[in-house]
């Protein structure tokens, strides 16, 4: 027999490392032809950090996206990054990239004062050029600026760093107030429970995220889709210790350790929520990548309860655990 149920859950997730003190640096170098190298220390693990940081750099500096090359993960040339994790790269590296771009803009403006015979504050860097405020005819393209600055003795490299202050837990109260932007999510899950086999099929997921400003909708969707699938695996199937604590039957391959595939994708919808004020992230962005795997989990467990009246306390909610709980509740398999 198949029974349907609905469940909900709400979550919050902080950006960055526990207790702060996790630095990120960025460098932007203006080249002879006006194109730029963006150097960061974070790693593109698939989440798309290079793409996002390039967008942030292009926006801040006012240059075309394709004029920026991103180089990451070479410890000889790359700047420092505490690590690509804890949902921190868009936020911490992003802020460092903004600082580097602003630094480069400042250098360009200061260098250009002589050329235009105005104060640095009267110059603006935008649209791939430096120009005199209020006099758009007086400008130099980035190609000219890059050529001249480099050949005439300057080294146009913008540097930026960002590091939230470090804090330790208070020994007695555990007080810890260093928590960077907190993102939010909520989920409604609809499941179908087969009371004969204990199989739970997730039919529909609706999710809402509050992540500050979204930098790249394509990558946000990828994080939500992908995180959701990892969350589904966690909820219903994945367990390295199925006979915990015994090591018996520990899975060692993808035949026994089952991660979700295309057939496990439920009908999914999302929306994002906009708040009137934004925090300290780049353009108001919050870190949220990790959180994408949370929302379905408790919503599914709640939905199982709604469908067949049982609570599962040990996860994943495997068919066997569901059947055992049904049997304990006096519902034999059918």
């Amino acid at each position: 027999m198949k029974k349907r149920g609905v469940g909900i859950a709400v979550y919050c997730h902080p950006t960055g490392a526990k207790g702060g003190g996790d630095p990120s640096q960025a460098m932007m170098r203006l080249k002879l032809d006006g194109t730029l190298d963006l150097l960061v220390g974070s790693v593109d693990l698939g989440q798309g950090s290079n793409t996002v940081l390039r967008q942030i750099a292009a926006e801040t500096l006012g240059v075309p996206l394709e004029n920026i090359t991103v180089t990451n993960h070479d410890t000889d040339t790359g700047p420092l990054c505490m690590g690509t994790g804890a949902s921190r790269v868009t936020f911490m590296d992003g802020n460092a990239v903004i600082a580097a771009a602003e630094d480069l803009k400042r250098q360009i403006r200061e260098w250009s004062t002589e050329r235009f015979e105005v104060a640095a504050d009267d110059l603006e860097v935008a649209d791939n050029k430096v120009s005199v405020k209020g006099n758009p005819q007086a400008f130099m393209s980035f190609a000219e600026v890059g050529n001249e600055m480099n050949w005439k003795g300057s080294f146009p490299v913008g540097k930026g760093s960002y590091c939230p202050p470090a804090q330790t837990f208070d020994q007695e109260t555990g007080r810890m107030t260093q928590i960077a932007a907190i993102a939010y999510a909520a989920c409604v899950a609809e499941v179908e429970v087969d009371t004969g086999t204990g199989v739970v099929e997730v039919k529909k997921l609706a999710q809402a995220y509050e992540i500050g400003t979204g930098i790249n909708p394509l990558l946000i969707k990828a994080q939500i889709d992908g995180g959701t699938m990892q969350g589904l695996g966690f909820t219903l199937a994945e367990d390295l210790g199925p006979n915990y604590p015994s090591l018996k039957f520990a899975p060692s391959n993808f035949l026994d350790y089952l991660i979700p595939n295309t057939a496990d994708v439920p009908e999914m919808t999302y929306t994002t929520v906009s708040l009137p004020s934004r925090g300290e992230g780049p353009f108001g962005a919050k870190g949220f990548a990790e959180m994408c795997s949370f929302p379905p989990i408790a919503a599914i467990i709640g939905a199982i309860h709604d469908a067949v009246g049982i609570w599962i306390y040990d996860y994943p909610a495997t068919p066997e655990r569901v059947l055992r709980a049904l049997e304990a509740a006096g519902t034999p398999a059918a």
Binding site: T75, I297, Y315
Partner: protein
């Protein structure tokens, strides 16, 4: 999905969904690039198969690595005899603990590269071979002889906490936070809160060990360049932390090492620990040849760090109207045989385990316990995920016990601007209520007007 037998009828085609329509992301029109669905920077390289992953690197004279792993959970390692292995044709180098020049690796610096005197978990690496090909390397590994004295192992964290249980590590089976056995968080007065409560709701939950399962298994290519610089093509998601750890293990200054990477076939936290860089580096230094060590899927699944297992005991004091007035959480994290990221996870868990809810009285005891399991590590949302999941299920159960709608209890307690986390952080830019309202709308659930009208910006009166 069973196929339709003997019929060629096809269900109607799905409507083609455009990429931008499926997710409604708030975008700012003022920006040129921010908020725009820009395709991936490396997207063309990915779809043409031209972006090189570490295993795609082939260098002239490159050696292959295979290792001997511990056959038991816990043992004294009396002797490792590699002489037979070194004699196998095609073997360039065999290393064991005595060949490691420096100290330990890991976020808390307690893990030996190659097991030295003791084995703490099954699969721990004891010795490594670099050879001309996989078959020679495997044959050599078979020739390594071990002299072991097997010892009783501990697998269950509750068991591990008992005083007479064998010690996983000399310092004991419980991590010390500020000299105490657990990370202590105290907000308000929980005892008074429980006394005020109309109901006490308890619940115990466990979450599994989850493997990050990146599609690319751990892999390093190490070589010595420019005479004396060790270059490692790495999957690391924290190259600088790893550079520091490698510097300690290899006794090389940081300018004599260079980690190169940036193209990783998935990580999800699994690349926060060094898995292959250290051994590949040691063998490259020893042989002065390029060396590749790639794990099999079996090694990745069984012996890489994973999301550690958690156990949570919740005790909530709640009023009839749904207000939670006190919450006690005892968390137990099985960090495995070495520290890994265990204490970090327990502390981060303590920060968020009470969820996005305003609870005036909170007590949390967070334990990090050692067992003879593969060390745990980081995985997506490490520390936060397991705790909040169980917390949300506890919320659901509490609503049931109160005879309250599961939405209602969350709205009643959800953070407002100016509310406080368990560790005393005053929150701003709060969006829990707004997310619930939005998701209800999306799912076609008509919430009561009262809940629809709520806002995180209305401070708690």
């Amino acid at each position: 999905m069973p196929r339709n037998e003997g019929t060629t009828a096809r269900p109607a085609r799905h409507e083609i969904r455009k990429p931008e329509s499926a997710v409604n992301v708030q975008t700012e029109t003022a920006y040129k690039y921010i908020g725009k669905p820009t395709p991936r920077y490396d997207g063309i390289a990915q779809v043409t198969g031209t972006n090189a992953y570490v295993d795609d690197i082939r260098l002239p004279g490159m050696l292959t690595v295979k290792v001997l792993r511990a056959p038991v959970l816990k043992a004294n390692l009396l002797n490792v005899d590699v002489s037979g292995a070194a004699r196998v044709r095609g073997v360039a180098a065999v290393i064991s603990a005595k060949d490691v020049p420096g100290g330990y690796y890991g976020m808390y610096g307690d893990q030996p590269v190659l097991a030295d005197r003791e084995i703490r978990y099954k699969g721990q690496v004891i010795a490594a071979v670099a050879a001309v090909d996989q078959d020679a390397a495997l044959e050599a590994v078979e020739q390594i002889k071990l002299d072991l004295e097997e010892l009783p192992a501990v697998l269950d964290p509750e068991e591990a906490m008992k005083p007479d249980t064998p010690k996983v590590r000399p310092e004991g089976n419980i991590w010390s936070f500020d000299g105490g056995p657990f990370r202590k968080v105290r907000l308000g007065d929980v005892d008074r809160g429980f006394a005020e409560a109309d109901h006490i709701v308890e619940g115990t939950y466990t979450t599994p060990m989850q493997e990050q399962s990146p599609m690319e298994t751990s892999c390093s290519v190490a070589m010595v360049e420019s005479g004396d610089q060790l270059v490692i093509r790495s999957l690391s998601q924290s190259p600088y932390l790893h550079l520091r750890q490698l510097s300690n293990v290899l006794k090389l200054p940081m300018n004599k090492m260079r980690l190169v990477g940036g193209n990783t076939g998935g990580a999800f936290g699994g690349r926060f620990e060094i898995h292959t860089d250290h051994v590949a580096g040691l063998l490259a230094l020893k042989t002065r040849k390029p060396v590749k060590w790639r794990w099999t899927r079996e090694e990745e699944t069984l012996y890489s760090t994973h999301r550690g297992r958690w156990k949570f005991y919740f005790k909530d004091g709640v009023k009839k109207d749904g207000r939670i007035v006190a919450r006690y959480v005892r968390t137990l994290h099985d960090t495995g045989a070495y520290t890994g990221m265990g204490p970090y996870c327990v502390e981060k868990n303590a920060m968020m385990v009470a969820g996005p809810f305003n609870i005036p009285n909170i007590a949390i005891d967070g334990y990090c316990v050692f067992t003879n399991r593969t060390p745990s590590g980081a995985m997506r949302g490490f520390g936060v995920m397991a705790g909040q999941v169980c917390e949300e299920i506890q919320m659901h159960r509490m609503a049931e016990i109160l005879g309250m709608d599961p939405w209602e209890i969350r709205f009643v307690n959800a953070w407002r601007e100016g509310d406080m986390t368990a560790t005393g952080k005053v929150v701003d830019n709060v969006g829990a209520i707004e997310c619930m309202q939005a998701v209800a709308k999306l799912a076609g659930i008509d919430l009561p007007e009262r809940l629809k009208a709520m806002s995180s910006r209305e401070k708690r009166g």
